[in-house]
């Protein structure tokens, strides 16, 4: 009887356990709820924030930093500047300034205004034809021969230097115009490349200017040397003359 009651009770208990809902559903529901909350909260919210920030950055770039309207306006401005001054400036750069009349001097002038270093040979011949040849050794005092030689050399060197500078200037102007053309179509991202080229060209131009300035200093120094040499010669000649006068008067030694 007791065993029967126990078996019946156990049967009822097992049935109750198996038939009634367990706590599993509620447990998973909590997990899903947490996941959904994380997705909609931290993840979804962060993504929305990222989107807003990216949109804001893009808007700033397009409206404040690099507005297409202003870029186009700057490019049009370059076009206007080019159209208004390039042709006129090219005329200025190629303005003929030659004025010699005689054949030899015209040839000399043509050579040193050519702006072509390839004309150096022609220039040297024309220079000699125009200013005369260096006297032979013994034809004049050595000091005078040397002064003539160095002064011819300085004159010719400076002129050749100026011819090279003219040639460089022509190239530099072409370079500048090419940079200007490029600036007309460049973009904000490539403007730095164009600017770097412009700066390089500028440095090359300054270097050439420095060479010309250095040559001007050398010319001035040579002129001073020439003046000093004449004074020295004059002093020496005066001393010689005094000595000869004293000799003639019988007071010399």
């Amino acid at each position: 009887m007791k065993a029967k009651a126990m078996s019946l009770g156990a049967s009822m208990l097992v049935m109750a356990l198996l038939l009634f809902p367990t706590g599993a559903y509620a447990q998973f529901g909590g997990i899903f709820s947490a996941i959904l909350s994380t997705i909609t909260g931290p993840i979804g919210g962060a993504l929305t924030d990222i989107n807003q920030i990216r949109s804001s950055i893009l808007k700033t770039e397009q409206q404040a930093l690099w507005p297409v309207r202003l870029i186009t306006q700057a490019q049009n401005y370059i076009s206007t500047i080019k159209a208004s001054y390039r042709g006129w400036m090219n005329q200025v750069y190629t303005l003929p300034v030659n004025s010699a009349n005689l054949q030899m001097s015209k040839s000399l002038e043509s050579a040193f205004l050519s702006g072509q270093i390839g004309q150096v040979g022609t220039f040297a011949q024309s220079y000699t034809s125009t200013y005369g040849v260096q006297p032979a050794s013994g034809a004049a005092p050595q000091l005078n021969l040397q002064m003539m030689d160095i002064e011819d050399a300085v004159a010719k060197d400076a002129t050749v230097q100026s011819m090279a500078a003219d040639q460089a200037t022509t190239k530099m102007l072409q370079t500048a115009q090419r940079i200007e053309d490029e600036a007309q179509t460049t973009a904000p991202g490539t403007a730095a490349m164009v600017a770097a080229e412009a700066r390089t060209a500028e440095l090359a131009s300054i270097a050439m200017q420095h060479k010309l300035l250095a040559y001007q200093l050398r010319e001035a120094a040579i002129q001073l040397g020439h003046r000093g040499s004449i004074l020295k010669q004059s002093t020496s000649n005066t001393q010689n003359l005094n000595q000869q006068i004293l000799n003639h008067l019988g007071g010399g030694q």
Partner: protein
Amino acid sequence: MTILRSFVRKPLVRRIALGGAGVLIVSTVAVQPAHSQFGIDIAAILAGLKEINSTLSSAVASPLKAINQVEQQEQQFQQNVLYPISAINSAKQMATGFTASFTSFRQLGALNISSATLPNPQQLE
């Protein structure tokens, strides 16, 4: 009541009752759907996953799509306005073209222009 007790006390009836209880227990256990075994409700899990999928679509995929659109606009802006490949190539071509010019500048700067003929002037020069 007495009749019922006497009826239950019959061995055959008791056996039948115990056997029926056993069958009931076994059938109860056996007919329980597999997904409900051990307390795991797969239907609930599926419903939860569907809910997650729906939430991912709305809360994650939607902002990501918007971010993608903005990124595409940014890329387009960079490619068309800031860093157009044509402008980059043009600038590079210009730089390459200037190489000859700058070499020419250096050559002109290093030109030997000496012309003195006598020893002392040559030395001075």
